[in-house]
Symmetry: D3
């Protein structure tokens, strides 16, 4: 198993213990180290009770079980935090499972929660560079000024580059937001080549900013979860607010352009019942909606494909109510080889 380059760049080495990630753990191995606690459940058995656990880090997830000796510590274990575990990697029903012997919360100087989040497979430096170039490429002076005002000072650029675009479904990684947004930019730019009269700069800004509010949408400790603000206000409005405020601070920003840009953000989900308070009413808004849909779906399908492995059909995917078929890929390969 290999650790992706991006992961190493932000690795946990600063804390002085070997960066052996979960994907590197092997059957039968004794392990000891820091991981994120993703689940914790007490489960009864006739003779008593045991802990059912799930651990994670940037490289993946693994189940755990602890049969006894946890009574004194269990109330201090918090899902979403980093814990230190000691145990042996075994297996249960064909899945790897750590039989935990010792567990305790990590001290704040032992580990940074954010180091345990999954990360975008793309090098963060590359994503940042591409993001900056996108802004550079704008020729509309108003839009360019707005983007510089948003990201040029303060910490928003840093937050943007670190944010996830989803909790579970797609681009649910550190860097997922910028990775997803740049993909959407790329699709929108291609649409500008194909269809005349699209406002390229407007569309590029809409693509970069459509999910801006995801920064507030999630709490990212050692796992991604919805924040209170994310649930109560929603990413459409937290993002729209940042953009609208930046615009009001710029003298001479044309009103039509302001309305149009905000429209792209607030309508990007495409339909009221998907959570957009208004539906797309501009050609650019339709393009952005389809580009967002396509890249989100492709992100989710990549994740499903990985989970499906060599099988022809995925397991049932509840969120979209269907199975996904990958069996033709083999047929395709065979055909190309012949």
């Amino acid at each position: 198993m290999q650790v992706p380059a991006a992961a190493e760049a932000v690795g946990r080495k600063g804390f002085g213990w070997a960066a052996v990630t979960i994907r590197e753990w092997e059957q039968g191995q004794r392990i000891e180290g820091f991981v994120a606690l993703r689940k914790l459940e007490r489960k009864e058995h006739p003779g008593g009770e045991r802990l059912i656990l799930e651990f994670g880090d940037q490289s993946g997830r693994i189940d755990g079980v602890m049969w006894d000796g946890y009574e004194e510590i269990v109330d201090r274990l918090v899902v979403g935090d980093v814990v230190k575990v000691r145990g042996v990697v075994g297996s249960f029903r064909d899945k790897a499972q750590v039989r935990v012997e010792l567990i305790r919360p990590a001290h704040s100087d032992e580990a940074r929660p954010e180091d345990f989040l999954p990360r975008s497979p793309i090098d963060p430096a590359e994503l940042a560079k591409e993001f900056d170039e996108c802004i550079e490429s704008l020729t509309n002076p108003h839009l360019r000024e707005m983007m510089n005002r948003l990201f040029g000072s303060g910490d928003l650029r840093e937050k943007y580059l670190a944010a996830a675009a989803g909790k579970l479904w797609h681009h649910n990684t550190v860097g997922g937001l910028v990775e997803h947004s740049l993909n959407v930019v790329r699709l929108c730019e291609f649409a500008c080549e194909m269809y005349e009269d699209l406002d390229r700069d407007l569309l590029v800004c809409g693509a970069l900013l459509h999910d801006l509010g995801k920064i507030e949408q999630y709490e990212m400790k050692a796992a991604i979860d919805y924040s209170t603000e994310g649930r109560l206000v929603g990413h459409i409005n937290t993002g729209d607010f940042r953009v609208a405020r930046a615009i009001t601070e710029i003298e001479g920003f044309p009103a039509e352009l302001a309305h149009a840009l905000r429209h792209l953000i607030v309508s990007h989900q495409g339909e009221l019942d998907k959570g957009s308070p208004v539906v797309p009413m501009m050609p650019e808004a339709f393009v952005l909606n389809y580009a967002d849909e396509l890249d989100s779906k492709m992100g989710a399908l990549r994740r499903i494909a990985e989970k499906t492995g060599d099988a022809d059909w995925s397991e049932y995917v509840n969120l979209i109510g269907r199975y996904i078929y990958f069996g033709h890929r083999k047929a395709g390969e065979t055909a190309r080889e012949s």
Copy 2:
């Protein structure tokens, strides 16, 4: 016919012509004066063409027809503007109709478009007073500061008091927004008496601010119509933006309170497919949603009742897909009298 007191208070007398409103025009009378142009359509007849018109002012609407002599002026007539008309009040199919002899756009120093809009039946001074008292009554210092920051300086208070809450369906008048909002406040306060643990101040602010974005939603010239910003961004987001910005300017405003207040605004339509990007998730948000629904519907039904007159059943109401019954009122009166 009587002109309501409120209308007189803001009347058109300053412009030096008799404040005879449309409701006062009588059959057979020669009239000359300023009215809002609400509709303009060319309609063919075998020998040629005529203009089909609709005029309005704060007191009501009347149809018009012009058979000839309009060719040179017609291109300068704009729906939504004020026009000066001369003609005779006749009738057509049991409806009053002005046979127009002369028509021209009003000069800007002859009439103010806003004087021709329908007005809330409640005295604007009374609405303003009640609105101010509502803010005075807040005991939560954060919310009170926020309200003062929003309405204490600048022109937002004035705009709020003049805005409409709807284009056609309910409270579609100058003053409609504050009239509707104060009704919602009243319903919410009653809910606070009935149900424990509701945050009264939060709810009152939510009630006053839920439709704040209607200020941008409409263009009010001589008739109410959607603005470009209203269509593209929507009143949920234009209102939420104002509130969110005011909050960020207040030091020490509690984050939970900010999220909760914004939640009331963005969830007040109650369901995604009614245009709220998030659904109600707090007891106060449910209360606000039902209070808003009830007062909107009552406003619309009052309008329908007026239009229905003495008939038992209204005409078919497209927006809600049904007829409305008023026939029991007579039965009720009879019973009480007996």
Copy 3:
């Protein structure tokens, strides 16, 4: 733990055993007494099987487990009946749990099932008084005669006062129907103050009678469950039938008033797909629908708030597909205290 006054008033003392309710049971205590059997499930464990149980009474619910010794009695245990249990109160996964040693069905002279149902927190005498006053307050002679005919003789008044308004979601208690209905009355009366031209007497009757059919909807033994009539005919029709029959027995009852009152009952769910065969078509019907919605939701949210305790967010509420937020209450309290 305290037993609410209302519970005591109808307590189980007549049967000669101490009225120690489930909420009074304490950790480690040996208990013996009568409770309602709410669930019974056989659950396998490697060495065999055990009984998983849930008990309830008017004060609450508790889990139970029985590891052996039940084989001869288990077939005579019926969910919904009263049982006599003996055991020790322990805990399992932080929840109280009775380890049962002996269990048997109660004899009919030992306990009345209805004594084990949860009860409205409001004193039943107070509810009855308020209900009677409501009827007294009617000035429409037809409606008053109808109410007297329905409730003046026979056992309907008693049934009405004892009925629940829900199985699980809201007002699922003895007395829940009248408690809920009186709340709806109160909301409707407030609407009559706010909006002119509403027929107050009609609306009050509609509010009191809208859920009348809940009397048939449920079987209330020691737990509330749907009856066969409730499922097959539904409470809209069982209630409408009682009212329609009472009306036909009254000479001179105006037809419009009859249609209007029945309309309030049959349309009170507000939409076809919520189970009303017709939608609201009268101002009073809209008011009743919103009042019913509001009080039902507030009842459900009170229950959810209790279950949520001190947490900011409730667990996921399946029936309405969302989490509920209570975290602002603390913020509100803090603000008021400061």
Copy 4:
């Protein structure tokens, strides 16, 4: 043109004028007689106004126009009443049209409104006989007693035999209710032959009674229209009430049978959003729902087929959002002939 036998049986001859129905009027003919007034509209033309009319009787409909001379009478003409007209049959846009010279309301001793309604193509005596035989055929003594109690005395049998099953869509004729119900009986009886364990008597009663409430649903003067009771209460509940009341008057009527029969009535629309307050939950209820759907649709399609004439495709049918194809019938005939 031929008058169907059934029409003649109930003809207008008793009033002393020749029973020449609208279908018998011929181009160029002078006519004078009684017809139902189905529509009345004033319509402007440059020189003034004219009346646009529609007349009907049991045999069909015809347009009318009246250019002048109606001013004194027009306010006394009521849609749905019988009028006496004199004029000449001409044509307009390939459709027959009466050019009216004189028109006045009919006196009550000149014509009975019900004689002008369209009538079921089946002989009413035959329908009555089949209906009675259906009741005779019941072997369940409870159901038989209930049917006899409903129809054996009083005027319900007469009303049932005269009622329509629809206003426009299907079986919108005098006798339409019993014609439709007997068709549904026939389909249900066939289902009883095909599927074991269906309760034939229960199903036959459900089929006969499912639309019983249509008696109150419509006002049948000279045209069928919704009644106030029909709109406010709905035919599900007016029908269920009659049946439920009859049942309560029968001693020893089994409760399960009562619930089951009422279930068939209240669930017969099949889905909540089609207006049934509960969905089918018994095999018999599913059968009844499909039988009702099939016969309603076949009734509507027969009407559409007549209107379509020889064309391959019907006009667009708004209620079901599609065109209907009849072009294969010719292909079928050709094939059979060859």
Copy 5:
């Protein structure tokens, strides 16, 4: 317990072991034989793991458990295949359960998977005969030629007679397709008797062919499951393709007839969101849709009735979101007996 005649006719005797089906297994009996493996799950218990199994054959299903000794064979056991088992029939929670001692996959010469599928209760010879007679009865020469071309040569007739019409919900048996289709034919023929102008031959062909694509829809080994083609293409299109191809091979087949027949097939689900790409637009298409709905539902309800046994109410039926009531059957029987 009795083996139905149909099952015996196609029994497993050819393989030389006693045709003792699962329904004949008795409590306490040692059994050894071939069954279909329907489920296989590893389930943890504190001391380790056990296999949870389900076996089936044409007569029914039974649970199984295997506590140890399966490690070497478990990876070769495939759900849907035939296995040989040895064990003792016991019970667990009132349900029969085989405690398995030995299990292994069957060799291909030991058993045919198709012998283990449930079978239509109707004699296959009878179904085949009725199917052939249906085709014989066609008088439209084009349709007759098409049916003969489809089924006269090749293996389609055999496949059709063996196919299932469902996986779980209705007619999920060998022979289920033809059983269901012939029922639909019968309902359609009755409709032709009741309603004039229906094209009987077209409708009979539509009824026989509407589910033709179910042949590709399922993989039938020892259990019915969706095939890849069934999921990706769907039975509407696999069936339509066969019919359309047969038609193109017939010279002189009328185009309208071809369109009409294909229309019956592609529209038979009745609504787009049920999976038909076009909605019914011919009277025959409506008839077929209702006939299909009715027979499918009756098939499903028969299955539910069997599972419900003597209880009044079925368990909750997820697919249609309701409980089913059978309690009136007893009431009906009692009434008839009295």
Copy 6:
């Protein structure tokens, strides 16, 4: 006014009359020539009746009126056919209108209906070339053989190149199908560059063939209308049939590839209620669905933009229930110029 190059290439000159298209007709000009008859309606006026007409050709549409002299010919005029007209171009309500003096059906040797259809703005030769290159580019031998079999001989290629992709909404032109399909190919190819593991050849074939059935969907005389086959069978199934049949004729075509390709075709509408009998279940199917949606919408928006002209907002677009905004384009231009 300019005639587009493509239009000239296929012009009507072969018939020996001047190729002056409708867009070239000028105010006050006497015209005589052949046009398609798009609408024909008799409309009453007080003195009688007139014909209201609409004419069209490849360049556009124009209204017409004929006041008299049409009685003898009117029954021979068929909407969708070519007619010869003589008259004068005038105007009515700011719209051009031909005052027709003479009209008659064109003889079949005078004009070809297809010459009067609107045409794709792209040169047909270019479209054909690009289409051929697309097929050339396939490296999967099976898919290439299938495409060659479909289009290599016979007239399908010619039909494909001439077909429209819509009646009114988008690409409703001769050549519209291939223009739209090639756009979808381009979008899909870009997706293949962005997302790994997509089967490019499969996707290209899916893009070219997804709307193949549009060939049968429409009747293209002088105007595009739905064919009987198009309505009854639908383009999903007429297209799928052609592809499925071609596949069965190819030996060794892999089954998985066949299912996958057909899946792309039948699922391309994306949802059941948009008319696809199965939903997308492969990554390629999602890509195709979004690409199709995007290009269709862009096609429709281009049409709406043309109709909107210089206005900021389009008229209300019924099909998608909203207005479309183009006002930002001017703002964008201004910004770029400054």
